[in-house]
């Protein structure tokens, strides 16, 4: 396996993914806390303020200049919702030194800059720089209000919100406009200090990071796997060393992080009446989003549900695509998405507004069909192939591979990619039929004119 994990302090890990597939090295730092109404907006604001300047490099244009100097290394940060956790993510991607026109040592510089942004903010009078906080508050307000600009994602967000009302997962990851007024440079900085003390910290490095050329040469000369193994270990250590010896990392205290572990077995959502929500806006096309819940408590539920989802709405072969789009010409987009952490499937279609009832009926027929076992062994095979092929593709994208291992890190069990594939392949038709009987329509959301 090309993946290594090392706990450097309690609650702080380095994950090393060694790969020669890319022209780039990618560094990622993820900070996780439980999602809650009180802090969601402040947390969303943090990365935006941090990226504005550090106590060493006090403005964004100076940071940009530094990045440009490093052959356009790209820095990005943002906030995500993963299960019931809110995650602040920081990424820095840089060209692997082998592909530079001239020799230059970029890795150390990159990591220093990244930790500087996250852990060494610009502070004035016990607060963040007031101008930065003010302008980022305005921008965050714009992002929150801009939710409506893309009708498809808006409808999706709204369905989640309705389905998980009064629960952490129903919160919007960017927070709420009404919270923004109360945020000051001082109280945000106080919040930041607490956040950094308590959050779960995971640092990922991905790339061909053999910064020690000698080690590489030795490896080529050696024939026995033992030597090779130990050389690999040394290399892994050397990138770890850069991280561990970073001043800001050293200053961090160990912590017992509070985050929500993603359990393999989900809790039962009490079954309720189907909730229908209709919203009006000036649109030419209607957006229909349907949230499905499961009450099954089977052993390998998530894997079975993943296969169920693929048959129902996973691709061009799926029941939804075939029946809603191809047979009835009701939509251009028709499919479903499985949200693993919440054990929920979302069906999404863009339809002619007048066809609402017909589309809804057609969709429900497909769900009924699944319940009645109206799908074939061939459908099972196709669905598994689709999933397996996407798992096999994970290591072909640096950020996807990091996201996969981070998902494992947040979960109460760890599967390698091969183990994951095996679990999918072990799902049989009977499992899916059994699960289908426990699936129910939780929420129907429709955006129309």
């Amino acid at each position: 396996m090309n993946y290594n994990k090392k706990e450097i302090k309690q609650g702080i890990n380095i994950h090393n993914i060694k790969t020669n597939k890319f022209k780039t090295n990618l560094y990622a730092v993820f900070l996780a806390v439980p999602l809650n109404r009180e802090n969601v907006t402040k947390n969303a604001l943090l990365p935006a303020v941090l990226r504005r300047g550090t106590s060493n490099i006090n403005s964004q244009d100076l940071i940009s200049k530094k990045l440009e100097e490093m052959y356009g290394a790209s820095f990005d940060c943002g906030v995500e919702k993963t299960g019931d956790n809110q995650i602040i993510k920081f990424y820095l991607e840089t060209i692997n030194e082998a592909f530079l026109p001239e020799k230059e040592e970029l890795d150390k510089k990159c990591l220093e800059l990244l930790f500087d942004i996250i852990l060494n903010p610009l502070v004035e009078n016990n607060g963040f720089k007031p101008e930065y906080v003010e302008s980022e508050k305005k921008k965050l307000k714009q992002i929150i209000e801009g939710k409506i600009d893309n009708k498809r994602t808006y409808s999706f967000e709204r369905c989640i919100e309705e389905m998980f009302k009064n629960e952490p997962y129903g919160l919007y990851k960017y927070g709420y406009v009404e919270d923004l007024e109360k945020i000051t440079p001082q109280n945000l900085y106080e919040h930041y200090k607490e956040f950094i003390k308590k959050c779960k910290i995971d640092i990922f490095v991905s790339g061909n990071l053999d910064d020690n050329i000698e080690l590489n040469e030795q490896k080529q000369q050696s024939n026995d796997t033992e030597t090779e193994k130990s050389l690999n270990q040394m290399q892994a250590n050397s990138i770890c060393k850069i991280i561990e010896s970073n001043k800001h990392i050293q200053e961090l205290a160990p912590r017992k992080p509070e985050y929500i572990v993603n359990k393999e077995k989900s809790e039962i959502i009490p079954k309720r009446e189907e909730n229908t929500v209709e919203e009006k806006m000036q649109v030419g096309q209607g957006n229909l989003v349907i949230g499905l819940s499961s009450n099954s408590q089977m052993e390998n539920e998530k894997y079975v549900m993943s296969v169920y989802n693929a048959i129902l709405g996973g691709g061009a072969n799926s029941k939804l695509f075939q029946n809603v789009r191809e047979k009835n010409s009701l939509a251009y987009t028709a499919g479903s998405t499985f949200r693993r952490q919440k054990n929920t499937i979302f069906i999404r279609c863009g339809i002619e507004i007048g066809n609402y009832q017909k589309a809804l009926d057609t969709i429900k027929e497909q769900i009924e069909d699944m319940k009645n076992g109206n799908f074939t062994e061939e459908d099972m095979e196709n669905a598994k192939k689709l999933i397996v092929s996407s798992i096999k593709g994970i290591s072909s994208e640096q950020d996807t591979e990091i996201t996969y291992y981070y998902g494992q890190e947040l979960s109460d069990s760890f599967s390698t990619l091969d183990e994951y594939i095996e679990k999918i392949n072990n799902v049989n038709k009977q499992n899916v039929e059994e699960l289908a009987k426990e699936i129910w329509v939780n929420t129907v959301y429709f955006l129309r004119d």
Partner: protein, 428 residues
Amino acid sequence: MEIIESLKLKEKEYIEKLENGMTVIIIPKPELDKKYVIWGTHFGSIDNRFIMPNSGEEVFIPDGVAHFLEHKMFEQPNGTNSLDTMMALGLDANAYTTNDHTAYLFECTDHFYEGLDELMDYVQHPYFTDENVEKEKGIIAQEIKMYDDEPGWRLYMNAMDCMYKENPIKIDIAGSVDSISKIIPDVLYKCYNTFYNPSNMIMVVCGNFKPEEILEEIKRRIIPHQKQGEIKRIYPDKEKGINKPYMEMEMEVSLPLFVIGFKDLENNSNKEELVKKHIAIEILLNMIIGKSSEEYKELYEKGILLSEPDMDYEFSDEYAHIVISGQSNNPEKVKEKIEEAINKFKEKGLEDEHFNRIRKKVYGDYVVEYNSVGDIARMFLSDKMKGINSFDYIEKYNDVTKEYAETILKNVFKKENMVMSVVKSKKM
């Protein structure tokens, strides 16, 4: 096979022109698990008037045919759909239509040759009937409506309307609900027979392949075709100036969207020169309004820009323009600042430190393009359609000097060729 090697990228490209005139490009990536193949025809939304090489008949087609044809290619006489067949193999299959080409593709880790069987079979076997053409109209109408609700797309089409009077770049790729209603099987067959001749097609494969082996596999699957002469495409004459400098519309958006465009009226027939020019334009755009520019800094701090605008140079033989797009509460101000920066650089020249730093960044941007089989294959196809070899962006990089960039600045970034399209927020 011709072999081109990029020493900087440590990549090789194998090119073969087959006897039937089709070009095959192979980029081996032995270290990757994913494989990608894309097969494109040089037929896009702008090709709406042409002379069929065999009959000499002049054809004028409704808007949206190239895209309609793309949808219909998947349908097979036995009632199956090739997209389904490929998905059933676990392949990620798709197709798309642009202004100047249509492409069919799939990506996979396993079952590559079964996928290639299907891909090369369906692209070579059209099957259009009155019934199946009629059915598609409903689906495409929904696709058109989806785009109609997208402010970004409307904004872009309006920008094209500002820059061009009659150029077919103004045609919506999918056409309109009205124009597609006129499509019948005969039109589709005429276009198919003209543009899907191998001599008008390019295939790119990228992944863990041995070049000679994959080339043989491709050749084996090609159906012998009558050789055809050159397709004469008829476009309106090149226009001198712009159509109109400004256009706006209202939609339900939280913040206005803008496109600032520069129509490029220069002759771009020398392709090597065009690559250099493209690199220079990317450097200049970054210097003018990129993240580290003074202008961006000021606009960001005042809350006028929320993030770096997207910047692009788009071109084919029939059109060329720069597109700068973003969101702002004051698009006028953004335009003003861009003009200021251009004038400043024109008067004072470019600073060495600034130019060299951005040049490094642009180099890095090109290298990053080589991270995935899909990015690589799509890039080689789309560049080749324009007569360009993608490696040239790395190879010609050193030829782009500060002085050269200053000349491009003077020739392309002209006030009289500048346009702006805005989508304003409708008062709710």
